[in-house]
Each structure stands twice: as structure tokens, then as C-alpha cells.
Amino acid sequence: MFYREAGQFKTSYKADQALFPILQDRVGLAVILITAFAVIPALANDFFLTSIMIPFLVFSLAAIGLNILTGFCGQLSLGTGAFMGVGAYAAYKLTSIFPDANVIVMVLLSGVFSAAIGAVFGLPSLRIKGLYLAVTTLAAQFFLEWCFIRIPWLYNYNASGAIEVPRREVFGIIATGAEATPLARYFIVLGITVLIAFLMANVLRGRIGRSWMMIRDMDIAAELMGIRPLQTKLMAFAVSSYICGVAGAMMVFFWLNAAEPSSYSIRLSFQVLFMVILGGLGSLGGAFMGAAFIWILPVILKFVPGLLGFDLAAETVEHATFMIVGALIIFFLIVEPHGFARLWQIAKQKLRVWPFPY
């Protein structure tokens, strides 16, 4: 309906292979980016930025990370939380060791550590597949969580056992610590998320992205076509963990300000996995949609009783939220097991062929 593709023809492969070959999609994307970079900062209050947008973006990035591994390369992981934790602790140590360094660079660098650790835990994936692989990643989850508790060096021997983000400035603006404004944090988080999402879109449409999907769709055929399974899977583990690590670091540096080992527990792993599954395996856009659903829905649910005039205890609301989210997850899995991305695809296809049904 809104798609009017007549007259959009490609005279070069460059144009044909563009990320968004359809004009209307490019316009849509531009609108979203303008909203994110201009409209929201101009209109949103601190609460909206801190409680909704920043965590949403952090989770979106984490979901992209997990999606690379699970959605694009077909390797199930339950260790996302821990890999995020590695990023967080690495960034914390880096800023402690290099207090004058640019904190954004440190955050981006922290992902390298989680990438390395992710690759190590990815090694068994050569022999182990499916649910069995989940055990490997569970081992990573619990082992790393244990490390966060038992290795005091990681949290600078704090009495509390938690990491607290110090105040750091970037180009004269306070970027981290309690005094950092939500707006500054928002822009940093948005910038990093958009940048990584864009870079990943590039990787996914090229040789490497294809090799991941080959392994996912038919590993034996992929191997017989010259794809080295271990190398390819390890790369997916590393890239995925890198992104999760950066997301984990952003989570503590630009959102929570402080974190303890339990922040990166198995619960977080599941939360991100849900975002990926509900958003749609193998879709970058889906990662954003899944993150929005899993993060923003409970926030909204918390306000619903108040808006309706009920006066309920905070606890009750929280429990009800849990129930509703659980029920909705099951509901959406039943309605569309391929996630919101598929729903969007179907809707888009409908709009493209409108008024025809197919």
C-alpha cells in the first residue's frame, strides 16, 4: 500500500545489493533515525531516557550479539549474561588501569576480552550441537559468574563486591558516573548501538555472514563447500561475544552505574534469549523489536494499574507483570514462532502486494 515500487530499477549490482534497496524502506529508516537522534532527545524526559530508551538500546545490542550466534550461526547459547558480564568487568578494570583514557574507547575495547572468552567457550561447538551445546554455554555462565564473585581483583577488592562506575569525561562532557546526564548517556549508547548494528548488517550480507548461515542451515553441505566449521563457528562466538561484551559494559557504565555479579546471572541470559526468539531468529531488526517488547512491556505494565485507578502494592504489580509477560511469551510463540521480524515481513509483503492477498 505504502510501497510503490514501480519504476525502481537497478542498473548496478551495488544498488541491487544495497541494505535497503526499496526507496520506501530507506525513507522509513531515515524517519526512525531522525526520531532517535533528534525527536527523542528533544522531547523525552529523564525518566524516559533512563528507564526506557537506554536499557532498550543496551538490550537491543545484546540481542544483536546473541542473534549473530544463535539466529545467524545456529548455535544455541545460554551464556549471554556472563559474556555481558565479562565486558562489564573488563571495562571496569580498563578504566581503573587507564583512568585518563577515553571511556567510550575503553567500553569498545572491553568487548575484545569477552570475544576471547567467548571463543574459548565456543571451542566445544565443533563436536557438540543443539541442546548439548547449551550445557557448554551454561558452564560458561556459571563459571564466569563464580569468577565475578571469587576473584576480588576484578572488582578492585571493594568491600561490597560490586563494581561502581567512576566519573569520566569525554570531550569535556561527563559521560559516566552518577553525575552524567541521561542525555549524554543516551547519545553514547545510541551511537554505539547504531554503529555496531550497521557494521553487523555489512558483515551479514557478505561472505562471512553467508558462511554463518550456511553452517546454520545445513552444516554438512557447508563443510563440503569448503567452509571450515570450527573457524566459522568460533568467529561467530567471538563476534557475538564481543557485541554482548560491549552491551554488558554499556549496561553498567551508561545505565546502572553499579553492578554486582547477580546482575549478569542466568536470568539475564534468558531475558536476552527471549528478545532474540520473540524478535525473530536471524533478523537484526527483530533484535530491536524483541528488546522493545521484553523491556518496555513490563515498564508499561507497571503503570497500567495506576492509570486505571487501582492502587496495588508494587510487589503485586511485579508479580502480575511476570505472569503477563510469561503468558504473552507463550502466546507469541504460538502465534508466530518466527518472531516479530517475521510478522513485520508478512505485513511488509502484504503492503507491497496490496491490494492483492499475494
Binding site: 549490482y13 551495488k14 545489493q17 557494521l199 555489512n202 558483515v203 550480507r205 557478505g206 561472505r207 562471512i208 555472514g209 553467508r210 558462511s211 548461515m213 550456511m214 546454520r216 542451515d217 545445513m218 554438512i220 553441505a221 557447508a222 563443510e223 563440503l224 563447500m225 569448503g226 567452509i227 571450515r228 566449521p229 568467529m235 563476534v239 536471524g282
Partner: protein
Amino acid sequence: MNAFVTEKTLPPADAKEAAEREVLLRVDNVSLTFGGVKAITDISFDIQKGEIRAIIGPNGAGKTSMLNVINGFYHPQEGTITWQGQVRRKMKPYEAASQGIARTFQNVALFKGMTTLDNIMSGRSLRMHKNFFWQLLWRGPAEREEIEHRRKVEDIIDFLEIQAIRKTPVGRLPYGLQKRVELGRALAMEPDLLLLDEPMAGMNLEEKEDMSRFIIDVNQEFGTTIALIEHDMGVVMDLSDRVVVLDYGKKIADGPPEEVQASQAVIDAYLGVSH
């Protein structure tokens, strides 16, 4: 107007001439066992450069196992395999690809989540080298490389006449077209040896004819050596230069189609199945 004399240089049919051709792959006394069950017993034959070699036999004769041995997916317990004049060590399946062996599968093994175009592009994987950092940037070397290979892939799409399904996810294609896409994917590897595992299984007559034409065209246009497994005797006899017949994991005949067709052992084996 007799200016046009259609003198096609056909591949040599008689065995004598064939013997002079270069041997691409030789299998010597190969045996393969699964947990005590013999799948292949003491088989020897060769594949010559530029020919279409058929491996036929009744169900369970060990044809697919033979292909799996050739491309390194199974490792025979006994015997040697000589590839382009060199005895091959035990190798990983992915090494077969880099040595120039491509194959298709009995039950289509396409990458279901990808489009026809991407599936065939995946055949170019080994020939694409731009590293992760170029891929991240895309603009520049990675994009140029992609376009360069896309051009080659488009040749194959054109060759197989599948333009109309270029951007269709392969899962949605009818079976016959999936087989064609799979052939395209193998062709994209520009292999020296192309292994086709029952390329015409489950096809109707028209699709079979199309596929036969493509196989012959591949052989003649690109000079690709082809080894194919097929159930349908008729198709094999028309297509191939030489035929190996297996039965219960043993070789029972080897030679030009007419000769093999006349062999009593072959007739018995095929009749034995239908009884």
C-alpha cells in the same frame, strides 16, 4: 547452402581412445565398514578428465557411500584414493572443496533460509578472501569482491535459466527447481570434479530432460568432469561416457554404457531387485 557442417567434437566414446585420457581420480581397492557392516567392498575404478562417469546400481548398492568416500566425508578402512596423480591422505570434507570437488545431494541440501542468489553465492565462498574488517566496512574491497562474484553467479543463473527465482527463498521453490539451484551452487565452485547424487530423483519427465541437458551442457561448456549416481538406467545410458555398476557394495561391471547394459551380471542385479 552447405557452408554449415555441424561437426560437434563429441567426447570419445570407445574405450581405447578413453584410455589415453588423463585420469583425474583413481579409487583402488577401497573398502568401507560401518560398525562391522560392509558398505563398500574392494572397489576400484577411475574417473578421467572431461568425461561423464555414472555410478549406478540397485538400492543399497553403496553408491552414495562411494561418493562420500570420494569427497572425504567417509574415510575408507582399506584402499587408496589418487587425486590428480597424488595419493590422498585422510582429509577433512572441507578440504575436498578446495581441491576442486563439488557435489549435490540426494535429498536437496540447500541452505533453506537463503535466497537462490545467496545459495549460489555461497558456492563462491572459497574464492572470496576479503577479511572481517573489510567486511565490516563493506564499501570498497568487500563490496567490489562481492560484485565481482555476483557477476559470475549471474552467469550461472543465466545458464540454468532461473532468473525468475533469483530472489526467492529456496524453501518456497518446487523440488525440481531446488535441484537446479543446487546444481548451480555446485557449479559456482568451478569444480574440477562434480559429483551429482541422483540429480533426477523425484523429477517428472520434462524436468529430467531439462536436467540432462544442463548436465551435458556443463560438461561441454565448462569441460567439467562429472561423476553421477542415478537410479534411472535410461537417463544414465544417454548421458554418460562410462558406467560403473555396484551391487551390494561390490563392483559388478565397468565400461561404456552399451557394454554395461549387455552385461549379464548387471541384468541379474537389476532383475534381482525387481523380483
